[in-house]
């Protein structure tokens, strides 16, 4: 119904299957007045000939489709303007008629029934994140034996960085089945159906020395059952101008694989706490000379922290625990791993101090010194790098004050220690007032697997660790 605005006249749909109509006669010409519902034009369709009543009152401004033309349902045929208005300058005759505009919702030409796409995947996708969204699955299959790789095998292969071509297949035609590849992975990737050792505990009988065939799984922690070799890289590409290429060493590939797998497996969360190390500093000063002379060993801050950590782990078994399948493993022992940097930036190795809970401060200091030196001299035995239940890493050697290390699978957490820095600190004086003092402060982080360890638990762990470090009772830790 027209009042002060223009009204469009459109081709009506005279029947469900009708899609077009022909103008047979205009009953009004531009400039003439038109009343609401007054017959305005005559049309002819497949079903019926009829007249079209005007949808508005006013003046016919322009005719967009002349007599004799056939147009689609919904096409604009004419424009009616308010009473007393002048027709606008004629547009070019519409050769390609446009559909009716809003706001008066005219019925647009019949469209195909509303396309009903299946609802978005319900919150039950094929479980643990389908395709890890990277092209790896494609790269996983290409190995040269030409055998068919099923979708689930391709997925598992890409998730573990395994080349299905290396897996012995027991399926039809020798193909690799899901069982085959899972067994292969559990067995450590040597193609035999060896009893897969439990992830932590028994070491697999591989040498940790030979840096080629079976590289000692290096990363921030040794997977106790050495993982399969990272897959062979795709064909090397040529270096562009200004680029240099070098092959990845087995150790580097191992680190890469383990880092990725660790982040994909655990829900990494880091909590941090600042520790006033004044007690430790003072006790260490006292013990340093004695330890050097009597035992040839330096009581490092790491040793103190390790000792306090072991005690704290006793109260928080999950932090020393492991998720194995659908079960949670806790222990009455601590095999403490220490991240050791190899010379020349070649990588990282994490020797393990077994049964560290039985060692006192001196024992720990000696133990650390021992494995660290053997690590650098490449004299570590398999036992030395496997079976860790908890790891401490010390990135703070270079002055950094914070970090978020990667957990060494299959452990549940890793402790990070950072630079010891003198800071102004608020303390209480003898009268109980707040005063500023200079204190040696160390930031310590616990990166934990939130699947097993909750934030509150981690917080309490760190709180207790701090308490032990801040109130070190030297008498309790004498050699």
């Amino acid at each position: 119904m027209a009042t002060g605005t223009q009204v469009d006249v459109v081709m009506p749909q005279m029947g469900v299957s009708v899609s077009e109509g022909t103008i047979t006669k205009w009953l009004k010409q531009p400039g003439e007045s038109v009343a609401l519902d007054e017959p305005l034009l005559e049309i002819s369709t497949d079903k019926v000939d009829t007249e079209v009543p005007s949808p508005g009152a006013g003046v016919l401004h322009e005719i967009l489709v002349p007599e004799g033309e056939t147009v689609d349902v919904g096409t604009r045929l004419a424009v009616i303007g308010p009473e007393g208005s002048a027709p606008v300058a004629a547009d070019e005759p519409v050769a390609a008629p446009e559909p009716a505009p809003e706001p008066a919702p005219h019925y647009a030409p019949p469209e195909p029934a509303p396309h009903y796409a299946p609802p978005e995947p319900q919150p039950e996708p094929a479980a643990p994140a389908p395709a890890p969204a990277d092209p790896a699955p494609v790269a996983a299959a290409p190995s040269g034996n030409g055998k068919f790789v099923s979708p689930v095998v391709a997925r598992i292969a890409s998730e573990h960085g395994v080349d299905p071509g290396q897996v012995p297949g027991t399926g039809a035609g020798g193909r690799v089945t899901k069982r085959d590849i899972l067994a292969f992975i559990e067995a450590g990737g040597h193609g035999t159906a060896a009893a897969a050792p439990a992830p932590s505990g028994e070491p697999a009988p591989t040498t940790a020395q030979a840096p080629t065939a079976a590289p000692p799984p290096p990363p921030p922690a040794p997977p106790s059952a050495p993982r399969t070799e990272p897959q062979a890289p795709p064909e090397p590409t040529a270096a562009a101008e200004g680029e240099m290429l070098e092959p990845m060493s087995a150790m580097r590939r191992g680190i890469a694989e383990h880092m990725r797998r660790s982040l994909d497996t655990s829900a990494h969360v880091t909590s941090a706490i600042e520790v006033d190390m004044s007690s430790v500093v003072s006790i260490r000063e006292k013990l340093k000379k004695e330890y050097q002379e009597a035992y040839g060993v330096n009581p490092t801050y790491l040793a103190f922290i390790a000792r306090a950590t072991i005690d704290t782990l006793r109260d928080y078994p999950y932090v020393n625990g492991e998720i194995r399948g659908e079960q949670i493993v806790t222990r009455n022992f601590v095999n403490l791993g220490f991240a050791v940097e190899l010379a020349d930036g070649k990588g990282l190795i994490v020797p393990v101090l077994r049964n560290a809970e039985s060692l006192n401060l001196l024992g720990i200091a000696r133990g650390i010194a021992d494995v660290a030196s053997r690590a650098r001299e490449k004299k570590l035995l398999p036992d030395d790098v496997q079976g860790g239940t908890f790891t401490i890493t010390n990135p703070g050697g270079y002055g950094t004050f914070h970090g978020t290390p990667v957990i060494s699978q299959p452990q549940a957490a890793i402790l990070g220690t950072y630079a010891l820095v003198k800071r102004p600190w608020v303390v209480k004086d003898e009268l109980g007032n707040d005063v500023i003092a200079i204190r040696p402060i160390m930031n310590i982080t616990l990166t934990y697997d939130h699947r097993l360890v909750d934030g509150a638990l981690a917080g309490r762990f760190l709180r207790d660790l701090r308490a032990r470090l801040e109130s070190w009772d030297e008498s309790a830790y004498q050699g």
């Binding site: 119904m1 005279m14 005007s54 919702p105």
Partner: protein
């Protein structure tokens, strides 16, 4: 040879009073007929203006039958009116703006845009929405009557069907079942003589469809569908008979479909003489003439009623046009009912 009773026309105002109507009622019925025709005429224009999608059906020529039967229904009675029975919706209280909104597929129509035309019904007004597969609503009307019978309620169900739909098995099964159990249902046949382009002699072989009632064990009556009061009287009789446990009745209302099957059909197959003859029996004019003659309807009253109807429909159109189109994101809502839509069990 006819079997069904042929209804007598209603003569005077006193006969009308016997049938239970007073002058006020009569003026109200007249007004309802005007609204019915007005809604459909307006809708017809809107359709040709492209504002109503799909197809458009009217019951032009059937207004008296529809309004009369709607008026004869009791407040707790239910029915399944069809596309020629807009008058039933009007009498029961469906607001014209919602009818326009339904025609235009707007969110405020009774079906919220999920069905068009007069495939709508307000259940609170005792109406059940029709489907296209006619007469599939007849068994449903019988089912409603069955519920009343089981619960011993003094309520009646009405099921409508056209003479075309009478050819389908649903008609037979419904009437047969209702007859065997003497259910409180009234069957109303809108015989407008054309099922699309099919004339009655190709649709049935008896003289009157109402003759078939005997075959189901109950009474059938044929009535001039353009005679408002005759239809009313028969409907009232049949409804009250059913209410009193007398079982079903089949009322055949004879009219002519004055327009095409739908607006897109120009009914070229209907002999012009038929249109001419039945145009003289236009139900609105007939009733108006009767009122003038027998109930002293004045010009002023007539004008007042007409003006009121015009205003009502203009407002209704405006309000319907303001109703939005349904939101596509609601497409999949309501396929299933939730348990809390129904009452808990009672014993």
């Amino acid at each position: 040879m006819a079997i069904a009773r042929e209804a007598e026309p209603v003569g005077s105002l006193s006969e009308v009073r016997e049938a239970g109507l007073d002058r006020e009622d009569l003026l109200g019925m007249y007004r309802n007929m005007l609204i019915t025709r007005g809604v459909e005429e307006r809708g017809h224009i809107l359709y040709k203006q492209g504002k109503i999608p799909g197809s458009f059906y009217t019951g032009r020529g059937n207004e008296a039958a529809a309004v009369a039967i709607g008026t004869a229904m009791g407040p707790d009675d239910v029915g399944t009116p069809l596309h020629r029975d807009m008058g039933v919706h009007i009498v029961r209280g469906v607001e014209p703006w919602r009818i326009f909104a339904n025609y235009m597929g707007r969110a405020d129509g009774p079906t919220r845009g999920r069905d068009g035309n007069v495939h709508m019904a307000d259940a609170r007004l005792g109406l059940i929405a029709m489907v296209s597969h006619l007469p599939a609503m007849l068994p449903v009307a019988v089912g409603a009557a069955l519920a009343f019978r089981i619960r011993d309620e003094r309520r009646v169900a009405l099921g409508w069907f056209g003479e075309g739909a009478s050819s389908r098995g649903d008609t037979h099964e419904s009437m047969n079942f209702a007859g065997t159990r003497r259910l409180p249902v009234v069957f109303v046949c809108d015989n407008n003589q054309w099922a699309y382009s099919t004339p009655t002699h190709l649709e049935y072989a008896v003289e009157h469809l109402a003759d078939r009632a005997q075959a189901y064990g109950f009474e059938g009556v044929v009535v001039d569908g353009t005679d408002m009061l005759a239809v009313y009287r028969e409907a009232k009789r049949a409804i009250e008979k059913a209410r009193d446990g007398g079982g079903p009745t089949l009322i055949e209302c004879l009219t002519l479909r004055m327009e095409g099957h739908a607006v897109h059909d120009d009914a070229f197959y209907v002999p012009r003489e038929m249109f001419e003859e039945w145009a003289k029996r236009d139900p609105l004019e007939r009733f108006r003439d009767w009122l003038r003659e027998n109930a002293s309807l004045t010009d002023d009253e007539e004008d007042e009623i007409a003006a009121g109807v015009k205003h009502l429909l203009t407002e209704a159109m405006r309000r319907a046009e303001e109703s939005p189109l349904p939101d596509p994101s609601t497409l999949t809502d309501g396929v299933y009912a939730d348990p809390d839509e129904l009452h808990p069990p009672h014993h």
